[in-house]
């Protein structure tokens, strides 16, 4: 008996079920990603990315802290952390301005989860790293420049 699989099915988020269906070849992977914000992840410039999230022109905020190295020796693995002190933070999005796919990750923060996430991203070249935060229905943004000595994208 595979309990994990049961849990996945029971989870009811639809994600797991769709994934399994896609794996089984019933539906194309593209369809399984209806929830995935295609427009945002395909965005080629910051304005398009903001628009895809429905953010318009987010206001700069000093209440968003980005933890990232000033100089990243290896662009393939750049640790980036975002902490938002804005009340009612609902979403955190990490964007790298000069990457071909600028939106790296988007986190939905439900109530009870702290607005404090860390991950690792690839950076093709020296760029500004943006953290966009949706708090109480409004969008805010902060940025930090990270210098890359060795690119992480491309051969």
């Amino acid at each position: 008996m595979n309990h994990q699989r049961r849990d996945t099915l029971k989870a009811g988020s639809g994600l797991g079920v769709l994934g399994l269906l896609a794996a089984a070849g019933f539906i194309k992977p593209e369809l399984a990603h209806a929830a995935w914000n295609q427009a945002a992840f395909d965005a080629k410039n910051m304005d398009a990315a903001f628009t895809a999230f429905g953010a318009g022109k987010p206001a700069e905020s000093a209440d968003i802290q980005i933890t990232a190295p000033d100089i990243a020796e290896n662009g393939a693995v750049v640790p980036v952390g975002v902490v938002s002190k804005l009340p009612k933070t609902e979403q955190i999005v990490i964007m790298i301005e000069k990457n071909p796919n600028m939106v790296a990750a988007s986190f939905a923060i439900p109530e009870g989860t702290l607005a404090d996430v860390q991950t690792r991203v690839k950076m093709g070249q020296t760029s500004d790293v943006y953290a966009m935060v949706k708090a109480d229905g409004k969008f805010y943004v902060a940025k930090k420049e990270v210098k890359v000595t060795l690119g992480g994208c491309g051969g």
């Binding site: 996945t8 994934g19 992977p29 693995v77 702290l114 690839k122």
Partner: protein
């Protein structure tokens, strides 16, 4: 099926800190192999973390996330022995779910 995730969940002073290390190639679709053919994109698109049955984090990833993605976050509540599960789905429809007990 992809390799298992390494998940650590530790409760301290009413806050549970979760760290997840996934095993995934996270291919961007930008790179080329030695013969010049583009290596197709293959990356995790969605990730859901649950504490017992409550979603504590839902994430969407793009190809800019590093190979073998790392993720850390914190949520209020959580006690020793609680169930914490993480599930991801990638752009090829592959999925993986792992579960640990909060320590």
């Amino acid at each position: 099926m992809a390799s298992p995730m390494r998940i650590r969940a530790a409760a301290k002073d009413g806050v549970t800190e979760v760290r997840v290390l996934m095993s995934h190639v996270m291919e961007t679709g930008q790179r080329k192999d030695s013969s010049g053919a583009v290596i197709p994109a293959h990356f995790i698109t969605e990730l859901t973390a649950k504490h017992n049955d409550k979603v504590v984090l839902a994430a969407e990833f793009g190809p800019s996330v590093s190979t073998n993605p790392y993720l850390a976050f914190k949520f209020n509540g959580g006690a020793k022995g609680d169930k914490l599960s993480v599930t991801w789905v990638d752009n090829k429809g592959e999925t993986r779910s792992d579960e640990v007990q909060v320590a």
